[in-house]
Protein backbone atom coordinates (compact mmCIF):
# COMPACT_ATOMS: atom_id res chain seq x y z
CA UNK A 1 0.00 0.00 0.00
CA UNK A 2 1.30 3.45 -0.80
CA UNK A 3 0.02 6.73 0.63
CA UNK A 4 0.12 10.36 -0.42
CA UNK A 5 -1.22 13.45 1.23
CA UNK A 6 -3.21 16.36 -0.20
CA UNK A 7 -3.43 19.56 1.79
CA UNK A 8 -6.75 21.35 1.69
CA UNK A 9 -6.46 24.67 3.47
CA UNK A 10 -9.50 26.28 4.99
CA UNK A 11 -8.97 29.81 6.30
CA UNK A 12 -12.48 30.74 7.45
CA UNK A 13 -11.30 31.35 10.99
CA UNK A 14 -9.70 34.76 11.67
CA UNK A 15 -7.36 33.24 14.22
CA UNK A 16 -6.56 29.80 12.95
CA UNK A 17 -5.73 28.36 9.63
CA UNK A 18 -6.92 24.78 9.71
CA UNK A 19 -5.28 22.34 7.38
CA UNK A 20 -7.46 19.35 6.58
CA UNK A 21 -5.34 16.45 5.51
CA UNK A 22 -7.01 14.09 3.07
CA UNK A 23 -5.15 10.90 2.59
CA UNK A 24 -4.85 8.90 -0.60
CA UNK A 25 -4.99 5.20 0.18
CA UNK A 26 -4.04 2.86 -2.61
CA UNK A 27 -3.89 -0.92 -2.87
CA UNK A 28 -2.16 -2.35 -5.89
CA UNK A 29 -3.79 -4.74 -8.31
CA UNK A 30 -2.31 -7.33 -10.60
CA UNK A 31 -2.28 -6.75 -14.36
CA UNK A 32 -2.49 -10.49 -15.04
CA UNK A 33 -0.77 -12.51 -17.71
CA UNK A 34 1.27 -10.29 -20.06
CA UNK A 35 0.67 -12.65 -22.96
CA UNK A 36 -2.99 -11.69 -22.94
CA UNK A 37 -2.36 -7.96 -23.25
CA UNK A 38 0.46 -7.64 -25.78
CA UNK A 39 -1.84 -6.22 -28.42
CA UNK A 40 -4.06 -3.23 -27.64
CA UNK A 41 -7.66 -4.28 -28.20
CA UNK A 42 -10.31 -2.18 -30.02
CA UNK A 43 -12.42 -1.91 -26.87
CA UNK A 44 -9.60 0.08 -25.22
CA UNK A 45 -10.81 3.01 -27.33
CA UNK A 46 -13.91 3.10 -25.13
CA UNK A 47 -11.86 4.00 -22.07
CA UNK A 48 -11.71 7.64 -20.97
CA UNK A 49 -9.05 9.27 -18.81
CA UNK A 50 -8.40 12.58 -17.10
CA UNK A 51 -10.70 15.35 -15.93
CA UNK A 52 -13.45 17.37 -17.56
CA UNK A 53 -13.67 20.87 -16.16
CA UNK A 54 -16.42 22.38 -18.33
CA UNK A 55 -19.73 23.10 -16.63
CA UNK A 56 -22.04 20.13 -16.23
CA UNK A 57 -24.93 20.06 -18.66
CA UNK A 58 -28.17 20.46 -16.77
CA UNK A 59 -30.64 17.73 -17.53
CA UNK A 60 -34.25 16.85 -16.96
CA UNK A 61 -34.49 13.79 -14.78
CA UNK A 62 -36.62 10.94 -16.06
CA UNK A 63 -35.92 8.59 -13.19
CA UNK A 64 -34.13 6.00 -15.31
CA UNK A 65 -30.63 4.62 -15.08
CA UNK A 66 -30.38 5.08 -18.84
CA UNK A 67 -30.17 8.81 -18.24
CA UNK A 68 -31.20 10.11 -21.66
CA UNK A 69 -34.59 8.62 -22.67
CA UNK A 70 -34.49 6.92 -26.03
CA UNK A 71 -30.70 6.76 -26.07
CA UNK A 72 -28.41 4.11 -24.72
CA UNK A 73 -24.94 5.65 -24.62
CA UNK A 74 -23.23 2.38 -23.66
CA UNK A 75 -21.14 0.26 -25.99
CA UNK A 76 -20.68 -3.47 -26.00
CA UNK A 77 -17.21 -4.69 -25.02
CA UNK A 78 -15.97 -7.13 -27.63
CA UNK A 79 -12.61 -8.06 -26.11
CA UNK A 80 -13.47 -9.51 -22.75
CA UNK A 81 -10.26 -11.57 -22.83
CA UNK A 82 -8.25 -8.36 -22.43
CA UNK A 83 -7.34 -6.26 -19.45
CA UNK A 84 -9.27 -4.61 -17.74
CA UNK A 85 -12.45 -6.09 -19.25
CA UNK A 86 -11.66 -9.64 -18.15
CA UNK A 87 -11.63 -8.46 -14.52
CA UNK A 88 -15.34 -7.60 -14.75
CA UNK A 89 -17.56 -10.60 -13.93
CA UNK A 90 -21.15 -11.59 -14.67
CA UNK A 91 -22.92 -12.86 -11.54
CA UNK A 92 -25.68 -15.49 -11.47
CA UNK A 93 -27.24 -15.18 -8.04
CA UNK A 94 -29.52 -17.63 -6.22
CA UNK A 95 -31.23 -16.28 -3.09
CA UNK A 96 -32.08 -18.40 -0.05
CA UNK A 97 -35.67 -18.81 -1.36
CA UNK A 98 -34.30 -19.92 -4.78
CA UNK A 99 -35.17 -16.64 -6.52
CA UNK A 100 -32.62 -15.98 -9.27
CA UNK A 101 -31.04 -12.61 -9.98
CA UNK A 102 -28.25 -11.19 -12.09
CA UNK A 103 -25.58 -8.70 -11.11
CA UNK A 104 -21.97 -7.71 -11.75
CA UNK A 105 -18.74 -7.97 -9.77
CA UNK A 106 -15.04 -7.20 -10.19
CA UNK A 107 -11.91 -9.08 -9.26
CA UNK A 108 -10.09 -7.60 -6.28
CA UNK A 109 -7.92 -10.57 -5.26
CA UNK A 110 -7.09 -14.20 -6.06
CA UNK A 111 -10.35 -15.37 -4.46
CA UNK A 112 -12.13 -12.08 -3.95
CA UNK A 113 -14.95 -10.57 -6.01
CA UNK A 114 -16.38 -7.21 -4.94
CA UNK A 115 -19.98 -6.34 -5.74
CA UNK A 116 -22.95 -4.43 -4.30
CA UNK A 117 -24.16 -5.38 -0.83
CA UNK A 118 -27.64 -6.19 -2.19
CA UNK A 119 -26.07 -8.81 -4.49
CA UNK A 120 -24.75 -10.81 -1.51
CA UNK A 121 -27.22 -10.02 1.29
CA UNK A 122 -30.94 -10.27 0.55
CA UNK A 123 -32.99 -7.76 2.53
CA UNK A 124 -36.22 -9.53 1.48
CA UNK A 125 -35.34 -12.62 3.52
CA UNK A 126 -32.73 -10.92 5.70
CA UNK A 127 -30.33 -13.68 4.73
CA UNK A 128 -27.18 -14.18 2.73
CA UNK A 129 -27.58 -15.42 -0.81
CA UNK A 130 -27.50 -19.20 -1.20
CA UNK A 131 -24.98 -19.28 -4.02
CA UNK A 132 -23.41 -17.01 -6.63
CA UNK A 133 -21.72 -18.19 -9.81
CA UNK A 134 -19.00 -15.83 -11.02
CA UNK A 135 -18.11 -15.67 -14.73
CA UNK A 136 -15.10 -13.41 -15.46
CA UNK A 137 -15.05 -11.81 -18.91
CA UNK A 138 -18.25 -13.50 -20.04
CA UNK A 139 -19.17 -12.79 -23.66
CA UNK A 140 -22.43 -14.41 -24.67
CA UNK A 141 -22.11 -18.14 -24.35
CA UNK A 142 -18.30 -17.85 -24.23
CA UNK A 143 -16.85 -18.14 -20.76
CA UNK A 144 -13.13 -17.66 -21.54
CA UNK A 145 -11.98 -18.17 -17.96
CA UNK A 146 -14.66 -20.60 -16.81
CA UNK A 147 -16.97 -20.03 -13.89
CA UNK A 148 -16.39 -20.04 -10.16
CA UNK A 149 -18.65 -20.73 -7.20
CA UNK A 150 -19.00 -18.69 -4.03
CA UNK A 151 -17.74 -20.16 -0.76
CA UNK A 152 -19.05 -17.44 1.53
CA UNK A 153 -19.98 -13.75 1.60
CA UNK A 154 -19.03 -10.62 3.51
CA UNK A 155 -20.58 -7.16 3.70
CA UNK A 156 -20.65 -4.10 5.91
CA UNK A 157 -22.60 -4.36 9.16
CA UNK A 158 -24.43 -1.11 8.36
CA UNK A 159 -25.79 -2.72 5.19
CA UNK A 160 -26.82 -6.09 6.64
CA UNK A 161 -28.42 -4.67 9.80
CA UNK A 162 -29.80 -1.32 8.66
CA UNK A 163 -29.85 -1.41 4.85
CA UNK A 164 -27.86 1.85 4.77
CA UNK A 165 -27.22 2.54 1.08
CA UNK A 166 -23.97 4.32 1.96
CA UNK A 167 -22.58 0.87 2.84
CA UNK A 168 -24.16 -1.13 -0.01
CA UNK A 169 -21.03 -3.13 -0.80
CA UNK A 170 -20.31 -6.83 -0.53
CA UNK A 171 -17.66 -9.44 -1.14
CA UNK A 172 -17.79 -12.92 -2.61
CA UNK A 173 -15.07 -15.27 -1.37
CA UNK A 174 -14.61 -18.03 -3.94
CA UNK A 175 -14.12 -21.71 -3.25
CA UNK A 176 -10.91 -21.78 -5.35
CA UNK A 177 -8.34 -19.37 -6.75
CA UNK A 178 -9.20 -17.57 -9.97
CA UNK A 179 -7.20 -18.24 -13.13
CA UNK A 180 -3.91 -16.39 -12.47
CA UNK A 181 -4.00 -14.87 -15.98
CA UNK A 182 -6.97 -12.73 -14.95
CA UNK A 183 -5.12 -10.48 -12.48
CA UNK A 184 -7.03 -8.10 -10.22
CA UNK A 185 -8.07 -4.44 -10.09
CA UNK A 186 -6.17 -1.91 -7.99
CA UNK A 187 -8.45 0.08 -5.71
CA UNK A 188 -8.11 3.12 -3.56
CA UNK A 189 -9.60 5.99 -1.62
CA UNK A 190 -8.97 9.47 -2.99
CA UNK A 191 -9.81 12.93 -1.66
CA UNK A 192 -13.03 14.45 -3.01
CA UNK A 193 -11.07 17.32 -4.58
CA UNK A 194 -9.01 14.82 -6.52
CA UNK A 195 -12.07 12.87 -7.71
CA UNK A 196 -14.16 15.92 -8.55
CA UNK A 197 -14.87 16.14 -12.32
CA UNK A 198 -12.85 13.00 -12.99
CA UNK A 199 -13.79 10.96 -16.02
CA UNK A 200 -14.81 7.49 -14.87
CA UNK A 201 -15.55 4.17 -16.55
CA UNK A 202 -18.29 1.69 -15.63
CA UNK A 203 -18.65 -1.73 -17.24
CA UNK A 204 -21.08 -4.47 -16.35
CA UNK A 205 -23.63 -7.09 -17.41
CA UNK A 206 -27.12 -5.53 -17.81
CA UNK A 207 -30.44 -7.17 -18.71
CA UNK A 208 -30.48 -5.66 -22.21
CA UNK A 209 -27.91 -8.35 -23.02
CA UNK A 210 -29.63 -10.84 -20.67
CA UNK A 211 -26.62 -10.49 -18.40
CA UNK A 212 -24.33 -12.22 -20.86
CA UNK A 213 -22.56 -9.40 -22.72
CA UNK A 214 -20.49 -6.67 -21.17
CA UNK A 215 -21.58 -3.06 -21.69
CA UNK A 216 -19.46 0.00 -20.96
CA UNK A 217 -20.00 3.73 -20.69
CA UNK A 218 -17.72 6.48 -19.47
CA UNK A 219 -18.37 10.07 -18.47
CA UNK A 220 -17.70 12.38 -15.59
CA UNK A 221 -18.41 12.40 -11.88
CA UNK A 222 -21.11 14.97 -11.17
CA UNK A 223 -20.97 15.09 -7.37
CA UNK A 224 -19.47 13.35 -4.37
CA UNK A 225 -20.64 12.92 -0.79
CA UNK A 226 -18.90 11.30 2.17
CA UNK A 227 -19.93 7.81 1.07
CA UNK A 228 -21.33 8.06 -2.47
CA UNK A 229 -20.29 9.05 -5.98
CA UNK A 230 -22.87 10.42 -8.45
CA UNK A 231 -22.19 10.35 -12.18
CA UNK A 232 -23.61 10.94 -15.65
CA UNK A 233 -22.92 7.39 -16.77
CA UNK A 234 -25.59 5.10 -18.22
CA UNK A 235 -26.30 1.84 -16.38
CA UNK A 236 -29.19 -0.61 -16.17
CA UNK A 237 -30.59 -3.40 -14.00
CA UNK A 238 -27.97 -6.13 -13.72
CA UNK A 239 -25.07 -3.69 -13.42
CA UNK A 240 -25.20 -3.49 -9.62
CA UNK A 241 -21.70 -4.18 -8.36
CA UNK A 242 -19.89 -2.89 -11.45
CA UNK A 243 -16.49 -1.29 -10.86
CA UNK A 244 -16.20 2.50 -11.12
CA UNK A 245 -12.64 3.07 -12.25
CA UNK A 246 -10.37 5.89 -13.39
CA UNK A 247 -6.74 6.56 -14.27
CA UNK A 248 -5.14 8.89 -11.70
CA UNK A 249 -2.64 11.39 -13.14
CA UNK A 250 -2.11 9.62 -16.42
CA UNK A 251 -1.53 6.20 -14.86
CA UNK A 252 -1.84 3.25 -17.23
CA UNK A 253 -3.35 0.92 -14.64
CA UNK A 254 -7.03 1.39 -13.79
CA UNK A 255 -7.90 2.11 -10.15
CA UNK A 256 -11.37 1.31 -8.78
CA UNK A 257 -12.78 4.12 -6.61
CA UNK A 258 -16.36 2.91 -6.19
CA UNK A 259 -18.98 0.21 -6.71
CA UNK A 260 -22.09 0.95 -8.75
CA UNK A 261 -25.33 0.33 -6.86
CA UNK A 262 -28.24 2.59 -7.81
CA UNK A 263 -30.00 3.96 -10.85
CA UNK A 264 -31.20 7.54 -10.77
CA UNK A 265 -34.65 8.37 -9.50
CA UNK A 266 -36.60 11.44 -10.63
CA UNK A 267 -35.32 13.17 -7.50
CA UNK A 268 -31.76 12.87 -8.84
CA UNK A 269 -30.17 13.44 -12.21
CA UNK A 270 -27.38 10.93 -11.80
CA UNK A 271 -26.74 7.26 -11.16
CA UNK A 272 -24.70 6.45 -8.10
CA UNK A 273 -22.41 4.03 -6.36
CA UNK A 274 -20.67 3.54 -3.05
CA UNK A 275 -17.39 5.45 -2.78
CA UNK A 276 -14.34 3.58 -1.55
CA UNK A 277 -13.37 5.43 1.62
CA UNK A 278 -10.13 4.76 3.54
CA UNK A 279 -12.08 2.51 5.94
CA UNK A 280 -13.63 0.64 3.04
CA UNK A 281 -10.27 0.26 1.28
CA UNK A 282 -8.89 -1.32 4.45
CA UNK A 283 -11.92 -3.59 4.65
CA UNK A 284 -11.50 -4.79 1.05
CA UNK A 285 -7.82 -5.38 1.75
CA UNK A 286 -8.82 -7.49 4.77
CA UNK A 287 -11.29 -9.45 2.62
CA UNK A 288 -8.43 -10.17 0.21
CA UNK A 289 -6.76 -12.29 2.87
CA UNK A 290 -9.87 -14.41 3.62
CA UNK A 291 -10.20 -17.94 2.30
Amino acid sequence: MSTRYDRDVCSDSPKLEVAAIQKVMFYEGNAGAPSLQEQPCPSDQLIVRGKQDSALVSKISFGQSLLVPGYDRRSRVLDTNSDPWRKVCALEIIASDDVQMIGTGWIAGPRLIITAGHCVFDKFNNEWMKQIQVIPGRDGTAEPFGRYVSEHFCSMERWTSAGDENYDIGAIILSEDLDSRLGSFAFGAYPDLFLSSQMINISGYPICTVGEEQMHHANRISSITDHKIYYDVDTEGGQSGSPIWFYPDGATEPVVVGVHSNGAGRSLKANSGVKITPALANKISEWRTRQ
Partner: protein, 86 residues
Protein backbone atom coordinates in the same frame (compact mmCIF):
# COMPACT_ATOMS: atom_id res chain seq x y z
CA UNK B 1 -41.37 7.34 1.44
CA UNK B 2 -40.31 3.84 2.37
CA UNK B 3 -39.16 1.09 0.06
CA UNK B 4 -41.54 -1.85 -0.24
CA UNK B 5 -41.25 -5.45 -1.31
CA UNK B 6 -43.75 -6.76 -3.81
CA UNK B 7 -44.40 -10.07 -5.53
CA UNK B 8 -45.90 -10.30 -8.98
CA UNK B 9 -45.93 -12.37 -12.12
CA UNK B 10 -45.07 -12.08 -15.79
CA UNK B 11 -47.50 -13.46 -18.38
CA UNK B 12 -47.66 -13.53 -22.16
CA UNK B 13 -50.58 -12.19 -24.21
CA UNK B 14 -52.37 -15.54 -23.78
CA UNK B 15 -52.10 -15.25 -20.00
CA UNK B 16 -49.52 -18.02 -19.67
CA UNK B 17 -46.78 -17.54 -17.08
CA UNK B 18 -43.40 -16.62 -18.53
CA UNK B 19 -40.41 -18.36 -16.98
CA UNK B 20 -36.96 -16.73 -17.08
CA UNK B 21 -38.09 -13.14 -17.74
CA UNK B 22 -35.86 -10.36 -16.40
CA UNK B 23 -37.65 -7.88 -14.17
CA UNK B 24 -36.20 -4.50 -13.13
CA UNK B 25 -37.29 -1.12 -11.84
CA UNK B 26 -37.21 0.88 -15.07
CA UNK B 27 -37.89 4.32 -13.62
CA UNK B 28 -38.82 5.67 -10.22
CA UNK B 29 -39.11 8.78 -8.07
CA UNK B 30 -36.31 7.63 -5.80
CA UNK B 31 -33.11 5.79 -6.80
CA UNK B 32 -33.64 2.05 -7.28
CA UNK B 33 -31.16 -0.77 -6.99
CA UNK B 34 -29.68 -1.80 -10.35
CA UNK B 35 -30.27 -5.53 -9.87
CA UNK B 36 -32.41 -7.75 -12.11
CA UNK B 37 -34.75 -10.49 -10.89
CA UNK B 38 -35.52 -13.59 -12.97
CA UNK B 39 -39.01 -15.10 -12.88
CA UNK B 40 -39.44 -18.70 -11.72
CA UNK B 41 -41.33 -21.60 -13.36
CA UNK B 42 -44.66 -19.98 -12.41
CA UNK B 43 -43.62 -16.61 -13.87
CA UNK B 44 -43.40 -15.20 -10.35
CA UNK B 45 -40.91 -12.54 -9.24
CA UNK B 46 -40.34 -10.46 -6.15
CA UNK B 47 -38.80 -7.03 -6.22
CA UNK B 48 -37.91 -4.19 -3.90
CA UNK B 49 -39.51 -0.94 -5.03
CA UNK B 50 -38.12 2.40 -3.93
CA UNK B 51 -40.60 4.87 -2.46
CA UNK B 52 -42.83 6.92 -4.74
CA UNK B 53 -44.30 6.16 -8.15
CA UNK B 54 -42.35 3.73 -10.27
CA UNK B 55 -42.45 1.72 -13.43
CA UNK B 56 -41.27 -1.89 -13.55
CA UNK B 57 -40.44 -3.71 -16.75
CA UNK B 58 -40.01 -7.31 -17.86
CA UNK B 59 -38.12 -8.61 -20.88
CA UNK B 60 -37.32 -12.07 -22.19
CA UNK B 61 -34.49 -13.62 -24.18
CA UNK B 62 -36.83 -13.95 -27.14
CA UNK B 63 -37.44 -10.19 -27.21
CA UNK B 64 -40.85 -9.89 -25.53
CA UNK B 65 -41.25 -6.80 -23.39
CA UNK B 66 -43.78 -5.27 -21.06
CA UNK B 67 -44.06 -2.54 -18.44
CA UNK B 68 -46.30 -1.84 -15.45
CA UNK B 69 -46.73 1.43 -13.59
CA UNK B 70 -47.10 1.22 -9.84
CA UNK B 71 -48.49 4.13 -7.86
CA UNK B 72 -46.95 5.33 -4.63
CA UNK B 73 -50.36 4.71 -3.04
CA UNK B 74 -50.30 1.02 -3.90
CA UNK B 75 -49.87 -1.27 -0.92
CA UNK B 76 -47.18 -3.92 -0.81
CA UNK B 77 -49.92 -6.60 -0.79
CA UNK B 78 -50.65 -6.18 -4.49
CA UNK B 79 -49.42 -8.72 -7.00
CA UNK B 80 -48.84 -6.83 -10.24
CA UNK B 81 -49.09 -8.76 -13.48
CA UNK B 82 -46.77 -7.68 -16.31
CA UNK B 83 -47.93 -8.72 -19.74
CA UNK B 84 -45.07 -9.15 -22.22
CA UNK B 85 -45.45 -9.28 -25.98
CA UNK B 86 -43.41 -8.83 -29.17
Amino acid sequence: MKAKMISGCVVDDMGNPVKGAFVVVQSSDLPAKDIAIITNDMGVFRLELPGGDCCISASTRSGMKGVKKISKYTSSNITPKICVYY
